[in-house]
Symmetry: C2
Subunit: 170 residues, 2 copies
């Protein structure tokens, strides 16, 4: 079963992101707008049990993290993704490093970790450039505190279900 | 903001339910298959805080609950809904009563609480009868243990996001 760890931003950020995702992101109906902390990976039940224990321990010690989304950016040419970018990615990078260690260490890393909230993906290069050109001038100023992580799993239709929440209580 | 409390059944039940929901349930892309424990209600932040405190306290004392879905049923003529029904609804009725008390008491009750997993809704009477006739002969035997509740909130597009999980630890 595929498991992933994400942050859901507050409702106002989700509503804004969904207004773009509805048109530009084929994952729109599979999961709500999110910042991925650990990419999807197939886990057997013992791995899940270890992961839950690890997440409980780590979250209990980690303090909440302030996030400010201040612009649209793109991963082009690495991938045709447009996303809401963080003014300062460092705190979420540290959160990612703290979470993705021990039994949650990432073995096969496809990309370096860059916290982001995807609003467009799975589109061709020309379309991506059009989308990015139209979004880039839009001012973005969402500030919020991340005080929890969500462990999700995927059903056969590609959609994601909540397994457990971990509150950052450090 | 609208909040609701649900149980997500295991992945195999979700996959089976989604195979019907995809065709017969307009909520298919808004939320994964679930059993509602408390209907959606608009809460302000203090109400949410009270609800979270209440849920934490109640869940810590409640034991996990065994559920067996053993047939398809319908709420017709009260509503045009087809659902997976419980062999014995009593344990989830008791869970509902324990959760929906104090600050979570249900003030305006539309229907008596009947635990169910909806697979078809929002269809006309004739179509509902066709769906029910086609599903009714299908044998159903899903047994699982419910060991957590999920508090969800709704974004403007009607989709639901996980707010917090509460483990039944009694």
């Amino acid at each position: 079963m595929n498991f992933g760890i994400v942050i859901f931003p507050p409702k106002d950020v989700q509503d804004a992101a969904n207004s773009y995702r509805k048109r530009f992101d084929p994952h729109y109906s599979l999961i709500q707008p999110h910042l991925t902390i650990r990419e999807s990976e197939s886990w057997d039940p013992p791995t899940l049990a270890n992961a839950v224990e690890r997440l409980s321990d780590v979250a209990a010690k980690l303090p909440p993290v302030e996030v400010k989304l201040n612009r649209f950016s793109t991963f082009y040419p690495v991938s045709n993704v447009v996303y809401m970018a963080l003014e300062n990615p460092k705190p979420l990078e540290r959160l990612h490093e703290a979470v993705c260690d021990g039994p949650l260490a990432v073995r096969e890393r496809k990309y370096s970790f860059t916290p982001h909230l995807t609003v467009a993906q799975g589109v061709g290069g020309d379309e991506m450039h059009d989308i990015y050109s139209s979004l880039r001038p839009i001012p973005l100023a969402f500030s919020f505190v991340v005080d929890r992580l969500h462990l999700l799993y995927q059903t056969d239709n590609g959609a994601w279900t909540a397994h457990q929440t971990f509150l950052l209580q450090g």
